[in-house]
Amino acid sequence: MSAYEISIVSVIGINVILAVSLNMISGFCGQISLGHGAFFGAGAYATALTMVGVGSVPLAICAAIVTGSLLGIVVGFASLRVRTDFLAVTTIGVNFLFIGFVRKQAWLGGEMGISNVPATGLGASGNMIMTLLFACATIGLSFYISRSWMGFAFRAVGEDEGAAATLGINSGAYKLAAFGIGTALAGLAGAMYTFFTQFITADAFDFIFSVMLMAMVVIGGIGSTWGVVVAAVGLTLLPEAIRFVNDYRLLVFGGLLVLVIRLAPGGLAAMTRGALLRVRRI
C-alpha cells in the first residue's frame, strides 16, 4: 500500500471510532452532543503529553481513554441539570471552552500545539492496523451494547425519561454511562490520531469537526451502527475522490445533512430498510 492509501485508511478508522461512539450517545441514548470533538481532542492531547513524557504506547492509550471519559462524565453531569433543549447548546459550549482553554496553556503548546510527538515504533502500517483493530472493536462493542439490556434501557431513556422511570430505570445513571463510554472511545480515537500525525493543534478538534461527526451519524441513520459506519467511510472518502467536495467540504456536508433531515430523517439505515421491505413484497 502507498503512503497515501495508508493515511486514508487510518483516517477512516479514526472517523469510524468517532462516529460510532457519538452514535452511542446521541443515537442509542438520545442525548444530542455537538461537542464530540472536545473529547477527541482531550484524548489526543493526553496521548501527546504521555508520549513526549514517558514514551509508552499502552500508557498513552490508557491516558487518552481516561481523559476523554472523565471529561465526558463531567459533561454528562451537566446534562442531568439542564432542560433538554439546552443540552445541545451546552455541548457546543464545552467544545468552544475546550479549544479556548487549550490554546492558552503553555504546557499544552498554546497556539502552536504539540509537535514532534515520538513515534509508536510500529511504523505507518502498524499504526493503521492498530487503528483498524480498535475500529473493529468499537463496532463490535456498539453491536453488543445495542443488543444488551444496556442498549434496551438506553432506547427507553432516549425516547421518554419519565416513562423509563416508571419501569425502574434511573435515567441519570444511564445518561452518564452513555457519555462515559462514548467519550472514552472518542479519547481512544484521539490517541490513534496523535500516533498518526505526531503533531496536534487545537483546530483539529473544533465545533465544525463536531458538526461533521454528527452529520455522519445523521446521514448514516441515527441509532444504526452499520449505517453510521457506512456514512463515516463514505464521507471520509468523498472529499478525497471529488475535488469539489474537498474544497467545499462544509457546504457539501451541511447540505447533505439538511437534505437528510428534511427528506429521509432515518438516514441511510432507514432508506435501506425501506428499500428491502419493498423488495421483499415484490
Binding site: 439490556w149 427507553a156 416508571t166 454511562a177
Partner: protein, 255 residues
C-alpha cells in the same frame, strides 16, 4: 405489619395556593382505594408527590414501612410502587412485547453496569407474554406500541406496571378517554390485578365505576381529606356532597 403506603402530614404550596394541606393517609396491604375530588382538589398534585415527581414542602411517605422521601421515581418503583399515567406513554417505537419485557427486566436494568453484562431475554420474554395475556393483549405482541387504539394502550400501561412486580399500584385516571364499554372492560382488568394481591389506588373522575369496584373512598377537596371510608357512606356525607355539588362552580364541561 406496616401499611403498604403511608402518608404523614404531606403538604405543598405554590406561592399563595396551598395545593395539598397536610394530608395523612394509611393504605393497608390489599386495599382498593378510590381517590376522588372535584377539579382542583389537589388529587393530581398529591399523586405526583407520591410518585416522586414533585417534592413536598413537608411530610413523610413510606412504602411498606420504608421512607422513600429521598428517592426519585425510579427508586420508588424498585421499592414496589407502580404507576400508570393519565396520558398514556408507551414507548411508541418499540413493540408491545418489548414495552413489557423492559419492565419485566427491572432486575437487569438496576444499574448500567449490570445491564451491560446481560444480553439474555428469554425469561423476560416469557413473563411478558404471560402478563400480556393476563390483561387481554395476547396476540398483539409484535405490533408497534404506537399503533394501538387507546383502550389497548391503556391495558399495555397496566401490563407494564404489572411487569415490575409492584406491591402498590397508583393509577392516574385510567378511564379517561374511554367510552362506556371500554371503561367497563378496563375496570375488570384492574379488578383482576387487585385480586392477584396488588394494593390499588385509583384516581378517577368516573364516579360510577369507582363506586362499583373500590372498597374504600378517599375524598380530597382544597388539598385536604374531607371523606374516608366505605364508598356509599362517604358519598352520603353532606360535606362531600357540598364539595362536589354545592360549591357553586360552573361545570367547565358546559362552558
Amino acid at each position: 405489619m406496616s401499611a403498604a403506603l403511608q402518608l404523614d402530614d404531606v403538604a405543598i404550596r405554590f406561592g399563595g395556593v396551598q395545593a395539598v394541606a397536610g394530608v395523612s393517609i394509611a393504605v393497608a396491604t390489599g386495599d382498593f382505594v378510590g381517590l376522588i375530588g372535584p377539579n382542583g382538589a389537589g388529587k393530581t398534585t398529591l399523586i405526583r408527590i407520591i410518585a416522586g415527581l414533585l417534592r413536598p414542602d413537608r411530610g413523610r411517605i413510606r412504602l411498606s414501612g420504608v421512607d422513600v422521601m429521598g428517592d426519585a421515581t425510579a427508586a420508588r418503583v424498585r421499592r414496589g410502587l407502580a404507576l400508570t399515567h393519565q396520558i398514556v406513554r408507551p414507548f411508541r417505537q418499540m413493540s408491545v412485547l418489548d414495552n413489557v419485557v423492559l419492565g419485566a427486566g427491572y432486575r437487569r436494568t438496576s444499574n448500567p453496569l449490570r445491564a451491560m453484562l446481560h444480553i439474555d431475554r428469554r425469561r423476560e420474554n416469557e413473563r411478558a407474554g404471560y402478563i400480556l395475556a393476563q390483561v387481554g393483549l395476547a396476540g398483539a405482541e409484535r405490533k408497534l406500541a404506537g399503533s394501538l387504539p387507546l383502550g389497548q394502550m391503556k391495558r399495555l400501561e397496566l401490563a407494564r406496571a404489572l411487569a415490575v412486580d409492584p406491591k402498590v399500584m397508583l393509577l392516574d385516571e385510567p378511564l379517561a378517554g374511554l367510552n362506556r364499554t371500554e371503561a367497563s372492560k378496563h375496570v375488570e382488568a384492574i379488578s383482576d390485578v387487585h385480586k392477584r394481591g396488588v394494593t390499588v389506588i385509583l384516581v378517577e373522575h368516573n364516579l360510577e365505576e369507582v363506586m362499583r369496584i373500590c372498597r374504600r373512598l378517599i375524598v380530597l377537596n382544597n388539598g385536604q381529606v374531607i371523606g374516608d371510608g366505605e364508598p356509599v357512606k362517604v358519598m352520603a356525607d353532606p360535606v362531600v356532597h357540598e364539595a362536589y355539588v354545592g360549591s357553586g362552580m360552573v361545570t367547565h364541561a358546559e362552558a
